[in-house]
Amino acid sequence: QIHFILLFSRQGKLRLQKWYTTLPDKEKKKIIREIVQIILSRHQKTSSFVDWKDLKLVYKRYASLYFCCAIEDQDNELLTLEVVHRYVELLDRYFGNVCELDIIFNFEKAYFILDEFIIGGEVQETSKKSAVKAIEDSDMLQETVEEYMNKPAF
C-alpha cells in the first residue's frame, strides 16, 4: 500500500500532497519537511530508493518536479517507479506536454487525475485510456453546467 504521495519542486515547494493514512496536520508538515530535505540532498548517482522509518521512499525527478511515494516494506519498489511513471503519463495525456506550471495552476485537476488512478494507496485502473476518459467525461459535465450558468466554475 502506498502511504502518501508528494510532488515538490527543486526548491522544495510543495505542489501536491496526497495522504492515504490519517495523520494530524502538524505531523504531516513535519514529515514533508523531513522528506523533502532527504530527497533534495540525494546524490544524482544514487538509487531511487531510500529507507525511511519503517517505509521505503521511491522518488523520481521529472524535469523540475520530484515525485515521491512512500510504500511499505513488502511492496515492489520497481513497480512503484512504474506507478509514478504512469501518473506522469496520465498528466501528460490530459494536459498535453505537461509541465510544472500546468500542475501549479490546475492542481485540483492533478488531484482528480490521481484519484482516478489510485484509491486508498492502490492502483484502481491500469488502462491509460480509461483513466483519462473518466476525467474528461466528468469535465464535460462541468462544462455543460458552466455553459448553462454562463460563468466559469473556477
Binding site: D51, E82, F105, I119, V123, E125
Partner: protein, 821 residues
C-alpha cells in the same frame, strides 16, 4: 459584493509575492473575502471559494474555517452536477480529517445511491481514502452492494473501498466474501486489478480466508489470467514497453505468493507459469525487471522445485551485475532474504556482493554489508575480513558500529588462528575504536584471556597501540585491562610472535597514568586504568612505591567511583598487604559462554555469565532445605545431587547409579542398567550442541505437544523441540496454567527421570500462576536420552492455593514417540 476572484487569478497573484510576509497578507485578504462570501450564502461562487481554500491549505495556511460551511453545503442539497462535488469531495479529503464524521455519514449514504456514477465514484473514492472505522462500519453494506454491480467503473472503486474497510475494521471481512465469487470473471482490467488487491488483503489477514481461496481453486484461475496476459498480443490500452499490463501481472504474482506459501499443491500448480514468466520477460526496461523481481520473490517464498529456485537466484545474480542502481538495490534486498535458505547459491555471487561495498549509495552499501556478514564462512573468512576491514575504514559513521560488531562475531566464529583473531580485533579497535559498542569490551577481554599463549603478543600490541593515541575509549579500556593483567609479560620481553619491545615498568606506568589524567578518558576508562595500576603492584618489582603514590592520590578524586576504588586499594596496601598478592593474582581463564561454531549458543540456567560456570558447589551444600528434602523423598536416595533448578551445572544434575527406587519400578524396556558408575565426571553435555538461536536453527518441527498434568485447575503442557545436530537431546518447555479463581503462588515444579536419562531444569519464569488462565509459568527442561529409550517422567508439584499448601505427584507417560525416538 464583487464576485470573488477566480482560482487561477489567486494563484497568479500569490506567485507574484516576493516575500513570505507579502504572501501571507494576500492569503489573509482572500480568506476574509471567502468568509464574507460564505456568510452571504451565495451558492454561485461556492465552488470557486472551495477550490481556493484547497489551494491555500496546500501552501500550508490554515483553511479549516471552511469546513463547517462545506459540511452544510454537502448536507443541504444533493449535488446536481459534478463540478461542485469533485472539489467538495476533494476538500473533504484534504481538510476535514478531524471533523465529526457524523455529518458525512448521511451524505455518503445518499451519494452512494446517487444516479450519476461520477458522484458515486467520488463518494467511494473519499471513503476509500479516508473513511474512519465508524464510517466504514456504517457504509460497508453499501460498498458491498456496489461490489456486485455490473458497472465496472464503480465496481473497481468499490473493490478498493472494500480493501480500506477491511483494513480499518477487519471483522467485516466476511461480508465481502460472497461478492468475490465472480470478481475474477471480469474482462475489465481495472476490476481485475482491484479484485486481486482485495483478495490479497483478505488472504493476508485471515488464514481461514486463505484456506477457503485455496479450496475454491483460485490458483488455477489466477494462472489462467496471467497466462492470457503473457500470451496475448499487443494491447495498446494496457501496454507498457511491450509488456501487457505489468501492474496486474505483479499483483497476481504477489497473490500467488501468498497462496503458495507453505502449500505444496498450490505451489505445484504455479510452477510452470512462474518458470514461463521468469524466462520470457523482457529485461531491457524497468517494467520487465519489476515483474522479474516479483517473480523471484514468489519463487523463493513458495515450495518451488529446486530448478526453479536456481533460476531465481541466477536472475538475482544478473540483477547484481546490472548497471542500474535500482536493480542492484533490489537484488541485494532479495538475496538478503534468501541467504539463509539457499546459502550455497548465494555464495556464488559473493565477489559481486563484496564489490557493492564500494558503491556510493548508502542503502546499497548497507545491504551489501549485511549480506557479506551472512556469507562469511570458514573458507572465505580471510579474504572477506580483508574486504570488510577495508570497508570499516572508509564507511560512513552510521555503519561503523554495526560493522565492528559484525566483524567481531564473524571473527569469533571462523578465526583460522588465534593470532589472526587477535590481529583482527586489534585492527578493528584501532580503526573504529570509538564506534565499538560498549558490550564488546567485556567479550573481547574474555576472548583475550582464553588465548593463553597469545597473552604476551596481545599485551605488546595493545601497548604499542595506545602509546601513540589513547583517545579511543574501548581500545584504551581493553588495553588497560590487559596491561594490568599481563604487565609482567610486557616488561620481561617474552613475546614470541613478534619482535619483543623493551619496556620498563616506569614506561608502562607512565602510559597508564596518562590515561588517568587525560581529559579524553571516560570515567569507566579511568576505572580500568586505576585497577590496572593496582594489579601491577603484584606483578612489577621496582615500582611498587610509585603505584602506592598514584593510588593514594586518587583517594581524593572528585569522581566517586575512582575515589572509592582508590581508597579500597589504599586500604589493601596498608592493612591487608598480606592478602594483596592473592587478591590480585592472575585471573583464571574464563570458560567461554558462547562456544565456537555457528549452531551453538549456550544457556546455563537461563543465565549467560561465565561466573556461574566457574564454581561447582559441593553436593551437600546449597539446597534450600524444604525443597531438597522433598526431592530426596522423590528420588529415594541420600547422597545424590538433587535437581535444584537454579544450581550451577558444570556436572550433570543427576549422578547415575544411586537414583530412585521410585523410578526403579517403572518398567524400562531395553537393557537393564547394572549399577552404572555415577556419571559425575561427564562433561557438561547439556551445555553444548543445543541450538537456541533461530537463525541457525535446525530443530525438527512438528512434535505434538501433550498435556502432562491436569488436575484441580492446574494444567501443565509440555512442548517439545529436538535438535538435528544432537538427536539425543530433547528440550521440553512446560507451561503451567491455572483455571481456578485464585492465583497459585510459590509454585515449584520438580521432575525425575529413569536412570538412563539425564535431566536439567532451568529457572522458571516465575513462581506465581495467575488465575483464570490469564498467564502461565514457563520452564525449560533438557533431557539427554543417549539410549533412545522411551521417555518417562515423574513430576512433583508444590504450590500455595487458597491459603493452603498443595502438593501432588504424577507420572507422565504420554510422551509422543517423536520426542525420544
Amino acid at each position: 459584493m464583487p464576485a470573488p476572484i477566480r482560482l487561477r487569478e489567486l494563484i497568479r497573484t500569490i506567485r507574484t509575492a516576493r516575500t513570505q510576509a507579502e504572501e501571507r497578507e494576500m492569503i489573509q485578504k482572500e480568506c476574509a473575502a471567502i468568509r464574507s462570501s460564505f456568510r452571504e450564502e451565495d451558492n454561485t461562487y461556492r465552488c470557486r471559494n472551495v477550490a481556493k481554500l484547497l489551494y491555500m491549505h496546500m501552501l500550508g495556511y490554515p483553511a479549516h474555517f471552511g469546513q463547517l460551511r462545506i459540511c452544510r453545503v454537502l448536507l443541504g442539497q444533493e449535488c446536481s452536477c459534478s463540478d461542485d462535488c469533485r472539489c467538495l469531495f476533494l476538500c473533504v479529503q484534504v481538510l476535514c480529517v478531524h471533523t465529526d464524521w457524523v455529518f458525512f455519514f448521511v451524505l455518503f449514504y445518499s451519494d452512494l445511491n446517487h444516479s450519476t456514477q461520477y458522484v458515486q465514484g467520488l463518494a467511494l473514492c473519499t471513503l476509500g481514502c479516508m473513511g474512519s472505522s465508524e464510517m466504514c462500519r456504517d457504509l460497508a453494506g453499501e460498498v458491498e452492494k456496489l461490489l456486485k454491480t455490473s458497472n465496472s467503473y464503480l465496481r473497481k472503486k468499490a473493490a478498493l473501498c472494500a480493501v480500506h474497510v477491511i483494513r480499518k475494521v477487519p471483522e467485516l471481512m466476511e461480508m465481502f466474501l460472497p461478492a468475490t465469487k465472480n470478481l475474477l470473471n471480469e474482462k475489465n482490467h481495472g476490476v481485475l486489478h482491484t479484485s486481486v488487491v482485495l483478495l490479497t488483503e483478505m488472504c493476508e489477514r485471515s488464514p481461514d480466508m486463505l484456506a477457503h481461496f485455496r479450496k475454491v481453486s483460485l490458483v488455477p484461475q489466477l494462472v489462467r489470467i496471467l497466462k492470457n496476459l503473457i500470451m496475448s498480443g499487443y494491447s495498446p490500452e494496457h501496454d507498457v514497453s511491450g509488456i501487457s499490463d505489468p501492474f496486474l501481472q505483479v499483483r497476481i504474482l504477489r497473490l500467488l505468493r501468498i497462496l503458495g506459501r507453505n502449500d505444496d499443491d498450490s505451489s505445484e500448480a504455479m510452477n510452470d507459469i512462474l518458470a514461463q514468466v521468469a524466462t520470457n520477460t523482457e529485461t531491457s526496461k524497468n517494467v520487465g525487471n519489476a515483474i522479474l523481481y516479483e517473480t523471484v520473490l514468489t519463487i523463493m517464498d513458495i515450495k518451488s522445485e529446486s530448478g526453479l529456485r536456481v533460476l531465481a537466484i541466477n536472475i538475482l545474480g544478473r540483477f547484481l551485475l546490472n548497471n542500474d542502481k535500482n536493480i542492484r538495490y533490489v537484488a541485494l534486498t532479495s538475496l538478503l532474504k534468501t541467504v539463509q535458505t539457499d546459502h550455497n547459491a548465494v555464495q556464488r555471487h559473493r565477489s559481486t556482493i563484496v564489490d557493492c561495498l564500494k558503491d556510493l549509495d548508502v542503502s546499497i552499501k548497507r545491504r551489501a554489508m549485511e549480506l557479506s556478514f551472512a556469507l562469511v564462512n570458514g573458507n572465505n573468512v580471510r579474504g572477506m575480513m580483508k574486504e570488510l576491514l577495508y570497508f570499516l575504514d572508509s564507511c560512513e559513521p552510521e555503519f561503523k558500529a554495526d560493522c565492528a560488531s559484525g566483524i567481531f562475531l564473524a571473527a569469533e566464529k571462523y578465526a583460522p588462528s588465534k593470532r589472526w583473531h587477535i590481529d583482527t580485533i586489534m585492527r578493528v579497535l584501532t580503526t573504529a575504536g570509538s564506534y565499538v559498542r560498549d558490550d564488546a569490551v567485556p567479550n573481547l577481554i574474555q576472548l583475550i584471556t582464553n588465548s593463553v599463549e597469545m597473552h604476551a603478543y596481545t599485551v605488546q600490541r595493545l601497548y604499542k597501540a595506545i602509546l601513540g593515541d589513547y583517545s579511543q575509549q574501548p581500545l584504551v579500556q581493553v588495553a588497560s585491562w590487559c596491561i594490568g593483567e599481563y604487565g609482567d609479560l610486557l616488561v620481561s620481553g617474552q613475546c614470541e610472535e613478534e619482535e619483543p619491545i623493551q619496556v620498563t615498568e616506569d614506561e608502562v606506568l607512565d602510559i597508564l597514568e596518562s590515561v588517568l589524567i587525560s581529559n579524553m578518558s571516560a570515567s569507566v576508562t579511568r576505572g580500568y586504568a586505576l585497577t590496572a595500576i593496582m594489579k601491577l603492584s603484584t606483578r612489577f618489582t621496582c615500582t611498587v612505591n610509585r603505584i602506592k603514590k598514584v593510588v593514594s592520590i586518587y583517594g581524593s578524586s572528585i569522581d566517586v567511583e575512582l575515589q572509592q576504588r582508590a581508597v579500597e586499594y589504599n586500604a589493601l596496601f596498608k592493612k591487608y598487604d598480606h592478602m594483596r598478592p592473592a587478591l590480585l593474582e592472575r585471573m583464571p581463564v574464563m570458560e567461554k559462554v558462547t562456544t565456537n561454531g555457528p549452531t551453538e549458543i549456550v544457556q546455563t540456567n537461563g543465565e549467560t555469565e561465565p561466573a556461574v560456570l566457574e564454581t561447582k558447589p559441593p553436593p551437600s551444600a546449597l539446597p534450600p532445605a524444604g525443597q531438597a528434602n522433598d526431592l530426596l523423598d522423590l528420588l529415594g536416595g541420600s547422597d545424590i545431587t538433587p535437581v535444584i533448578p537454579t544450581a550451577p551445572t558444570s556436572k550433570p544434575a543427576f549422578a547415575g547409579g544411586e537414583l530412585l527406587d521410585l523410578l526403579g519400578d517403572l518398567n524400562l524396556t531395553g537393557s537393564p542398567v547394572s549399577a552404572p558408575a555415577p556419571q559425575i565426571a561427564q562433561p557438561p553435555f547439556l551445555l553444548d550442541g543445543l541450538p537456541a538461536q533461530p537463525l541457525f536453527n535446525d530443530i525438527a518441527a512438528g512434535i505434538p505437544s501433550i498435556t502432562a498434568y491436569n488436575k484441580n485447575g492446574l494444567k501443565i503442557d509440555f512442548t517439545f523441540e529436538r535438535s538435528n545436530t544432537n538427536p539425543s537431546v530433547t528440550v521440553i518447555t512446560i507451561q503451567a496454567s491455572n483455571s481456578t479463581e485464585q492465583d497459585m503462588t510459590d509454585f515449584v515444579f520438580q521432575a525425575a527421570v529413569p536412570k538412563t536419562f539425564q535431566l536439567q531444569l532451568l529457572s522458571p519464569s516465575s513462581s506465581v500462576i495467575p488465575a483464570f488462565n490469564s498467564g502461565t509459568i514457563t520452564q525449560v527442561i533438557k533431557v539427554l536420552n543417549p539410549q533412545k529409550q522411551q521417555l518417562r517422567m515423574r513430576i512433583k508439584l508444590t504450590y500455595n492455593h487458597k491459603g493452603s499448601a498443595m502438593q501432588d505427584l504424577a507420572e507422565v507417560n504420554n510422551f509422543p514417540p517423536q520426542s525420544w525416538q
